[in-house]
Each structure stands twice: as C-alpha cells, then as structure tokens.
C-alpha cells in the first residue's frame, strides 16, 4: 500500500501539500507563497525540498524546515531531505500577489517591489494597511520579528507593522 501511495507522489503534489505549511510568525501565508520553498525534486522515490532563509537570523527557520519535512512525510514519502540554500538570496519581491493581500489583511503592510534595487532609506512610502493612506511615519525600523518594522498612520492614527523589504 505504502509503495503504491508513493508512486502517485509528483513534484506538483508536493508543491500543493507545502501550501499548507505556514510561516510560523505570519500564519496566514504559506512557505510557498513567501518564496521560501525554492525547489522540489524527486529522484528514485527520494524527495528533496530546497528552501532558503528569509532573514538569516530568523528563529522560525528551524520550525519551517521541520514543518516542511513533516508535511512531505505525511504524504507517505519516507525518504525526505530538506536542504537550505543561500543563493540566490531571498527577496521580498518573491512574495506572491495573493500573499501580499493576505499580509495586508493580517495588518502587515506588504513591502514594495524593488526589482533588486533595494531602497533602504527612512523615507520609503509605506501605505497603511488599514486605510490605504501614504501619510505614515516610521517609528522603528526593527519590530517584533526580524522581518518587521513599526509605523504609525497619521491619517487613521493606527500603529501598524510593515514587512521589511529585502
């Protein structure tokens, strides 16, 4: 039975299954939507998933690594390896449009797409995820997790967090 079940596993079914693995610090988006899963290969029944860290000190990396492995095992695959690569370096540009909407609904301003030209200044325009005003001001470029900065909206007076561009 187990062998038969394994035969049906394709790279596509694994990608689909990994949609259920959420970023532990932002549980509304998956590791696939965030661009954290880079590659899935199957070779003679052996599954290799390649992931990349978002911020290199992110404490959620271990959790995501273990969750990805457990999720593939749950499909009936016994031989699973989760590898980590630094190249090419993760960028917030890889976050999908759907995930950006989810981040916004979660109260996290999504990062602007920068196309590789990362604008790290204090004066980036950040749009309030609550009222869509650009009249916002940075309070702290470091927030409760490595990937977040803290802003206040001058329009609706709401403090909010931004997913930092990387």
């Amino acid at each position: 039975m187990a062998a038969e079940a394994t035969k049906e596993i394709t790279e596509e079914t694994i990608w689909e299954a990994l949609e259920a693995v959420k970023d532990p610090e932002i549980p509304v988006v998956s590791v696939v939507e965030m661009g954290i899963v880079r590659d899935v290969t199957i070779e003679e029944g052996r599954v290799t998933v390649t992931m990349t860290p978002t911020f290199s000190g992110c404490p959620a990396l271990h959790v995501m690594h273990d969750d990805i492995e457990a999720q593939v095992r749950a499909l009936g695959v016994e031989d699973v390896t989760v590898e980590t690569t630094l190249h090419p370096p993760w960028t917030t540009d890889w976050i999908t449009e759907e995930a950006r909407e989810k981040l916004k609904a979660f109260g996290l301003a999504p990062p602007r797409r920068h196309g590789g030209n990362l604008p790290i200044t204090f004066y980036d325009t950040v749009t309030c995820p609550y009222c869509d005003s650009d009249n916002t001001v940075v309070q702290n470029t470091f927030g409760p997790t490595l990937c977040r900065a803290i802003y206040t909206c001058n329009n609706c007076q709401q403090p909010f967090e931004q997913f930092k561009a990387l």
């Binding site: 860290p53 911020f55 290199s56 000190g57 992110c58 404490p59 630094l86 190249h87 090419p88 370096p89 993760w90 990362l118 790290i120 200044t121 204090f122 309070q139 702290n140 470029t141 470091f142 927030g143 409760p144 490595l146 803290i150 930092k164 990387l166």
Partner: protein, 253 residues
C-alpha cells in the same frame, strides 16, 4: 584546494564567525535593559541577525572541514576563540555599544560588498545574503552615532569617550590572518589594505561629521594584537555563553 589554502580559509571563516557570535552575545546583554523599549527591540534584532551571520560562517567551516558548529560554540575553551578584542569588551554605556556596533556594521558592510565577487562561491553567496541585512543595521547605528555625537554636551562627551577607547581596537579587524595572502591571491577574500581603505573612506568623514574628534591612529600594523590574544573579558563571556550547554552535554533542544 591545497592544504595550506584550505587551512587559511578555515582560519578566516572561523574569525568571521567568532566576531559575529561574540558581538551578538554582547549585544544580547542589552535585551531587557536598553534605554527605551524601541531600542531594546531593535538591538535585540540586530543581535539576532549577527547570530544568523555567525551561523552562516560556522556552517561553511563545517562544510569545508567537518567542524560541528555546536561544539565550536558551546564546548571550545575561551582561549581558542579567534574574535577581535573590540567585540568582547563589556557593553559599557549606550554610546559605547552603539558606536561599537556602527564600527562593526560599517566594516561588515564594506567586507560584504567586496566579497560579492569572491571566487570562493560559498563566501560570495553569504556576502550577498548578509549585505542587505547589514544595510539595515548600518542605517540604524549610524543614526545613533550622529544623534549622540551632535546631541548634548553629555551625549557628545560619552560618544567621544567611546571613540577614544574603541578607535585603537578597530584596526584589528583589518589585520591579515596567517596565510591570508594566499586567500587574497586566490581571489577568495578582499585584500586587507583595500578593505581598510574603503572603510576609512566612509568612517572617518562620517565620524567627524558626527561632531567627534578622531584619536591618533595606533602604530599599525606592528602593534595589532593577534586574534589568539584576548582581554580578561572574553573568558567570563564564554563561560556565560556555554553555561547551560555544559550542564548537560547530551541534552537535545
């Protein structure tokens, strides 16, 4: 790779890793104690980032020579750490910790930039990962140096005092390791002089614009201590860092 080259590379990776680890540990000592809540959060984030960078370098060392990162971090005697002295010094006041972090961030940023084209591919990849994170640190700590340097008489005085004590120590970051010339020749790492020149082009005018007087340069490089020689501050730091792990060697986390 020849055994000599590999040895030199291993020494460089260990030095990079140890600098980041020890600085991260020092910075983490501010967690819960920073002057304001926002800074407590920010500096803890920065400490965590540097810990992440340390991990990258320890893992590259492991890939090269099989050294287990946990053993290196938790079970190595203090005397065998190869960090520079400036990162092991106690946190001092806020001005000292901010200036130390600025000096290190500006150095790390220059090093990462010059390492992007390294012919040792893992190093180039690490540099590309580290660089944008350092941009965030650098922008943050540079602001603090300006804020305090150009602030009140008290804040300027404290920043100046911090610079007077850190300036002679900073040049150890640029001192070549034994065998480093082979790494430079192989195109693995930037030449120390080139690194230092680029750093000084940024740091000297920046510090002067922040209302600080640059102390006289130390008699480099003759007086730069080797990385095997530490101050009395490293041993208690390492004891603290390793205390829990050493209680139960086989414990799983």
């Amino acid at each position: 790779m020849s055994p000599d080259l590999e040895q030199a590379l291993a020494a460089r990776l260990l030095a990079l890793a140890d600098d980041e680890l020890i600085l991260a540990h020092r910075n983490s000592e501010w967690t819960g104690h920073a002057p304001i809540l926002e800074e407590d959060i920010a500096f803890t984030n920065i400490a965590l980032d540097e810990m992440g960078h340390a991990r990258i370098w320890y893992e590259q060392l492991e890939a090269l020579q099989g050294a287990d990162p946990d053993s290196l971090i938790f079970f190595r005697p203090a005397a065998e750490f190869s960090n520079v002295r400036m990162v092991e010094l106690p946190p001092g006041d806020w001005a000292f910790s901010m200036l130390r972090q600025y000096l290190f961030d500006s150095y790390e940023l220059v090093r990462a930039t010059q390492t992007l084209e390294s012919r040792y591919r893992p190093m180039a990849e690490a540099a590309a990962k580290i660089r944008p994170e350092e941009l965030y640190h650098h922008r943050h700590t540079a602001l603090w140096v300006r804020r305090l340097g150009l602030g009140t008489e008290e804040s300027n005085g404290r920043m100046q005092q911090a610079l007077d004590s850190l300036w002679p120590a900073v040049f150890q970051l640029f001192a070549p390791l034994p065998g480093e010339e082979q790494l430079v020749a192989a195109g693995y790492v930037p030449a120390p002089a080139q690194l230092q020149a680029a750093w000084e082009r940024e740091a000297r005018p920046f510090l002067e614009d922040a209302g600080l007087r640059l102390p006289p340069d130390p008699q480099a490089p003759a007086t730069v201590a080797p990385r095997s020689e530490h101050t009395e501050h490293l041993e208690p730091l390492v004891a603290d860092l390793q205390e829990v792990a050493r209680l139960e060697r086989e414990a799983e986390w």
